[in-house]
Amino acid sequence: MERSFKQEVQALRLGAGETFHGEGILAVTKALLQSGVSYVGGYQGAPVSHLIDVMVEAEDLLAELGVHVETCTNEASAAAMLGASINYPLRGAVTWKSIVGTNVAADALSNLASPGVMGGALIILGEDYGEGASVVQERSHAFAMKSSIWLLDPKPDLPTIVRCVEKGFELSEASHSPVMLELRIRACHVTGQFAAKTNRRGHYSTIERIAEPARFDYAKLSHPPVVFTQERLKVEERLPAAQAFIVANQLNEVIRGEMDDIGIIVLGGLANSVLRALARLHLADLFGRSRIPIYVLNVAYPLAPEELRAFCAGKRAVLVVEEGYPDYVEQAVTVELRRADLNTRVFGKGPLPKTGEYTSDVVLQGVAAFLREARPETVAVELIEAQARALLARKEAAATVTDLPARPPAFCTGCPERPVFAAIKLAEREVGRTHISADIGCHSFATMPPFNLGNSILGYGMSLASAAAVAANLDTRPISIMGDGGFWHNGLLSGVASNLFNKGDGVLLIMQNGYTSATGQQFMPSSPASRDGSAPGMSIEKTLRALGVKWLRTVRSYSVAQMAATLKEAMLSAERGLKVIIADGECQLVRQRRVRVEDAVKLERGERVVRTWFGVDDDICTGDHSCIRLSGCPSLTVKPNPDPLRTDPVATVIESCVGCGLCGEVAHAAVLCPSFYRAELVRNPTRWDRMRDGLARGVIRLFGGRDRAGAT
């Protein structure tokens, strides 16, 4: 894994009277243990990868507590795990990145929510919305509403987040419904502190197992005819039970304020942004006291109608602050107020934008616009507006700094996937362009410069499936790119099996780097190792052969020329059917972490170590940068031309180079220029190294080729 969580694992052991310091997502993990979970599962993805990672590393602690941890192969299998809570009084939690993970899990979620649960079932959603997001921008709220799953959206401070986890289980049990808890990216990574409690062992666990299997109960199946009964239960019994619990336990908060003719209704996750905006307009203080009354919805769904009515009674207007579209909360508030025949005007999308992240300046602007419309009696709106304008005007001054080049994420130095795209570029020169069906994973960085490759992305592991109809209607064979993570997540069945079953055509390029690299290099079925050290033993190649793939080549991913030739062959082959190329090369981040340690040990022991580095002769490079356009490596960059007669910057390789060999491969395969060289520094050279070197030195010196003795 990318990060070690040794310290964090220690924090998970804290007991009553101690203070937990750390990140939001780790506070959630601690709260799960304090709640007595019996099982945890999930699928990694920013921003919730750390939850699973730390659980995996906390093996000993979890064994003591009897918690079963499953690193699922996709979100559907994680969601289905919660099925254990339908028949047994087991508390369980699963996690994934939303919206995409929730989409994958949707089938299991519907079938879980319909019969309902006996043990508390909690779903931790990493809400990948706004700055830094890598997925489609949609709201998870829709899933909560349609499946009658309650949705918590806690205020982003650790005590509230922890309380919501603990109360989430109780809410789930009190209403027999699963509960989702959504955390935005920044909330997952927010640091803070809370007073820890001692961890609890679940009533039943891997230590104290349930003696008797559940008795047969048709009502617990999501199957007709009981699905009709279950539908009624969800709406008529579980919803009111949930609402009663929410009110009784005061999950939502009301901040009182003297400007009581107006109010703000805000989802918990956005409460701090609103309070800060008010503080900057001198309408609140740093400690959360506000002049405008605020209703903080730590529960985004369902609303508690009586609380809402009580808050809105006597108010001329309220502002609903919720991110994303549709404006579910605004609609629900409006309906509730109409039902109660309250004449409070509801503002939301209008003063606030319909789409996009509610950053601090967006909220500030929105609150000011709301005040202008709502005209509260106790404040000089013109003053507030002028203040907001003055604050925001500072941004305009900054608009003088323009056309800054973007810096999107890219393949790491030495990444084994980069050479594959260089090979595609080279193959394109000979066989022409074709449709490239891209996928989710590190390889999707190829959609950015310098490669700009990819015509569609339809979801994780979906590239081959999304090329099915393209292949049938396009003159050239499409190329589908898929990572090994995507292959096991979904691609094997949705893509490969479907293609073979339908006797499809096309080229599938699988990036076999051994880990789900983009999410932090977690293990997966074809990893060379697993969390207990042994290899999981599932092979992509064997799996494909067993399924009946005939045309299958495994190519070392750094061999650009061979990869380009193989691609060409796959594109031009007269043979119909799926052609699979496995690009084999271990994730360089993982490799470097291992090799650095190994090399240090060898150096210590006096054993021979070779450090390889690529370089560019700056007097041979002419500054065209073709090499960069075919690579985009972070270690291959430019520097001022040292030649007094030339002006264009020349290519250069910086210290971070790991000597992956791509520069040389590209120089050869693309017939670029002769300015690249590979330098190998032999540390602790053997006698043979020294002899060979000494002989060469002698000859070279004889021909006047060295101006200094070098390192002797």
């Binding site: 920044r186 942004s273 740093l286 959360g288 601090s360 994420p409 264009d648 060289y677 070197d693 070098g710």
Partner: protein
């Protein structure tokens, strides 16, 4: 006690993988150790590989104990006009914080490293795509309340530490952070991992910051000029005496280079070729600019990159030592240098005598396999056989004047010089633009072919029509410049085709209007 009305806010801008998370952690734990409410957030995801990323910290510099149980509400996103310190690991990222509105003159202290880590768009440009660093520095000066800027990467490299440690040192030195130095040092030590290196980096940052105003700015690194030789002395004298002084240094450099490239006669030819240009420069009142630019390009063109020159550069005596230094080779370690050469038909014809090369090229005309024929070679310069092969190639220098490439190049150079002289008859500006077109001719293999064909296109469809009066001279200057720029937009030539079409459309329009 009365708490302040707002926390101290700090925005860290960094690139993925630079240790911004560790830096944030140090600051947060130091604040925590003093009992201050503190909160940090970030948006790294685990996937922000090498991309721009930010970390945001709020610190309330009052111990919890003095807050009477009140809990401050800390924000998760920085506010426009609400950031006290921007700490950037790189100059462009500091400017990005300004563009996002987080740097304001009434509040924000900018602490940034002056080095550049070029973005992909800057690196992949066919010519020079680098963003102007001076503009970035000016933006900081204009928008920040104060700034502390020095090359933190260089300091980190010297100290053998991560840049994040140097950044922390600079932050403390700025005195804008309400945390004492020893709390931060303790935070670094508590981390354990690489503590010694990080303390080194921290202290290096601290002391470099103190000298920051005295540190040299990001000056252009020195140019590597050629040393003179006894045999070129008279030519150098001629270059300085018989030509305008504005171009002297360029001419001397050219003479030395061409002497080293071929021989004294070739260097003399260089000066001979420049005489008509000097006259044209004078006549067009170009004040030496035309001569200087032409001299610069001519020296480059005459020392064109054939295999002989490449071989000579690869075995240059100072090269191995330079690479050893770059790699930080220590005593007793051995270095091997391997070159990647892939000679093909072009490279062969370069060193074959004219008639043989012509026959070979003619044969290749109808034979694709011959055109595609390349010999992939990985050649170890530090081995006996590798060195000797390169040495042998370099020795072909004496035969160069009889090679096919030599003849081709000289003809093309003469044509180009004639164009410049003729253009100077119209205006100095036009001649300068024509001279500057030599910039397109560079590189090897496909790059060189593309450059030549672009040059030919511009010559035929812009330069010649301008000289023939088909395009008015005033519009012609602009046309040549834009065509040249367009040729450097993309390697597929789409930019140039569009530009040429536009020039022709305008010309027709103008003619029709007349």
């Amino acid at each position: 006690m009365n708490a302040p009305s707002r926390p101290i806010t700090l925005l860290i801008a960094a690139l993925g993988g630079e240790g911004g998370g560790v830096l944030t952690h140090w600051i947060v734990s130091a604040a925590s150790s003093l009992g201050f409410p503190v909160q940090s957030t970030s948006i790294p995801g685990v996937a922000q590989r090498t991309g721009a990323t930010t970390y945001y910290i709020e610190i309330l510099p009052v111990p919890w104990a003095e807050l009477d149980g009140r809990q401050p509400v800390l924000a998760l996103t920085p506010g426009v006009g609400d950031v006290d310190i921007v700490l950037a690991s790189e100059l462009l990222e500091a400017a990005r914080a300004i563009a996002n509105g987080f740097v304001t003159a009434d509040r924000t202290m900018v602490i940034a490293s002056s080095h550049r880590h070029y973005a992909i768009a800057e690196k992949m440009a066919m010519g020079d795509g680098r963003h102007d660093s001076t503009r970035l520095r000016e933006a900081i000066a204009q928008n920040a309340q104060g700034s502390l800027i020095f090359d933190m990467e260089a300091v980190a490299r010297e100290a053998g530490a991560m840049i994040s440690a140097v950044m922390l040192g600079a932050l403390v030195a700025s005195r804008h952070l309400p945390l004492p130095q020893d709390a931060l040092v303790a935070a670094i030590r508590a981390e354990g991992k690489a503590a010694a290196a990080n303390i080194r980096g921290f202290e290096a940052g601290l002391s470099a910051a103190a000298r920051a105003s005295a540190l040299p700015g990001a000056a252009e690194p020195e140019k590597r000029t050629q040393g003179g030789a006894r045999r070129t002395r008279s030519l150098e004298r001629e270059a300085t005496r018989s030509f305008p002084p504005e171009a002297a240094d360029m001419l001397v450099e050219g003479v030395r280079r061409l002497h080293r490239y071929q021989n004294r006669a070739y260097a003399k030819l260089y000066l001979e070729r420049l005489k008509p240009i000097a006259a044209a420069d004078h006549a067009a009142r170009a004040e030496g600019r035309l001569l200087r630019e032409t001299a610069r390009h001519l020296a480059v063109r005459m020392s064109y990159e054939d295999v002989i020159r490449v071989a000579a550069a690869k075995i240059a005596p100072e090269r191995i030592g330079r690479i050893e230094r770059d790699m930080g080779a220590k005593a007793g370690e051995r270095l091997r240098i391997v070159e990647f050469l892939k000679p093909g038909l072009d490279e062969m014809s370069q060193i074959l005598p004219v008639p043989l090369a012509r026959r070979l090229l003619a044969a290749a005309e109808n034979r694709a396999w011959l055109r595609d024929l390349h010999f992939t070679m990985e050649l170890e310069t530090t081995s006996m056989s590798g060195y000797l092969r390169l040495w042998g190639l370099a020795k072909l220098r004496a035969l160069r004047p009889w090679t096919h490439r030599y003849h081709e190049e000289q003809r093309a150079i003469e044509t180009w010089l004639a164009l410049i002289a003729e253009a100077a008859g119209h205006s100095a500006a036009l001649a300068l633009e024509v001279a500057e077109c030599a910039r397109l001719l560079k590189g090897y293999g496909d790059t060189l072919k593309r450059g030549r064909s672009n040059f030919a296109l511009i010559e035929a469809r812009v330069i010649r029509p301008v000289l023939a009066g088909q395009i008015p001279a005033a519009a012609g200057i602009d046309a040549v410049a834009s065509a040249r720029t367009a040729a450097l937009v993309d390697p597929d030539g789409a930019g140039l085709s569009a530009c040429l079409a536009e020039i022709e459309r305008r010309t027709e329009f103008r003619l029709a209007a007349e």
